[in-house]
Symmetry: C2
Subunit: 205 residues, 2 copies
DNA sequence: CCATGCAGTTAACAACTGTTCTCCGTAAGA
DNA sequence: TCTTACGGAGAACAGTTGTTAACTGCATGG
């Protein structure tokens, strides 16, 4: 087990997390490339220069946020594909999992959706890498199911990517939709994934 | 026919276009919410105050860019779905059309992809509106084909949205991929759309 | 218990931002 | 031809930005 880190490092990680949280909050109404270092420290209530003790640029902060945001997204994606039940039942469960996750960590998925094609190269690369990892995991999960017997690795990866992209877009739609339209978003997302699932069942032959 | 607009208005629209072009160029390496008014005018070689003669904020400039970027995207989407030939042939032609369009207007699609979930509300709304319009057109085109007989309006709209999103993501993948991987992007995109097409053929019943 | 190291502060820097006001030249319309 | 309207220039404004330097207080390890 890890040593109980000293009071010193504990305080440091505390303000570091405060910086990350404040940044995530500010990023709900702007993109990373316009996020100022002073803006973040001001929101935390700390001197601007303290920022450099933790990150050497806002781009670095962004990369750290990618870890945090997609780290929380990780178990969701795993649960999405490995859910039990038959095809349609699994899809319903997956969409529900996505909706629940969006309600719990809205800022996380907003950040990922926004910066996936955002203006900061390093952050884009970090997101792409993590998303590729997810796609690989989904592919592995897909390979376990009997329905995908005889599939080539390439085709499995293609299907996994399709699902991952679909999940992210669905999450984004949940985010943008007002409360009274959430059900409709869920219905459309379900039908989309069902169509993909049908397509995959008739892919071979 | 429209009157030949005077020398005055011609000059005005010329610098207006110069502002749009310069902004589009600058936006390849940052997002709209960090684009400065002075930055744009400096790139054009015009006084900062001249900006206000054309737009009242960079957000307004962004909305104008949406019109331009998705205006150029319009014929492509139309051609994508209405292409002749059988299913697989149509898909190949569509992917090729997308690749060609990306090579011709890279900045346009980069802008749309980046600001679709970007930090500027008005621009996001403008993009969403235009994309919805496109989805409607694709749906109308889909309805003409005999394969979609018996489909409900809702399902047609769902499928059209799936295709539109897929096109945009494909375009984005072309943009990010280096020259030697373009073929692979095309192959994956083709297989994705083929799977969707297969799914749509088995959707009913 | 004391010396060292480090998180955080304060002050200052040049550079940059959006915006306003005043002015200039000239195309447009009478 | 004369007046007006308008695209654009110029200067100035208060406020902001990232970054540096030297400083302070305190937890840490010997």
């Amino acid at each position: 087990m890890s040593h109980t880190l000293g009071v010193r490092q504990a305080k440091k990680q505390k303000t570091r997390q405060a910086l990350l949280d404040a940044a995530l909050g500010l990023l709900e109404e702007q993109s990373l490339s316009s996020l100022g270092l002073r803006e973040v420290t001001r929101a935390v209530g700390v001197a601007p220069t303290a920022f450099y003790r933790h990150f050497q640029s806002t781009a670095d902060l962004g990369v750290a946020l990618v870890e945090e945001a997609l780290g929380s997204l990780h178990p969701m994606i795993a649960g999405t594909v490995s859910a039990a039940g038959d095809g349609d039942e699994r899809i319903d469960r997956a969409v529900d999992l996505i909706a629940r996750h969006v309600r719990e960590y809205p800022a996380h998925i907003r950040f990922v959706a926004r910066e996936r094609n955002g203006g900061v190269q390093k952050v884009r690369a970090a997101i792409a890498e993590q998303l590729d990892r997810f796609t690989g995991e989904v592919k592995a999960e897909l390979a376990k199911h009997p329905e995908s017997a005889g599939w080539s690795d390439d085709d499995l990866l293609m299907l996994a990517g399709l699902y991952v992209d679909q999940m992210l877009m669905t999450a984004c739609n949940f985010l943008e939709a007002p409360a009274e339209e959430q059900d409709q978003v869920a219905r459309v997302a379900t039908r989309r994934m069902r169509l993909i699932s049908i397509g995959s069942r008739h892919w071979l032959g």
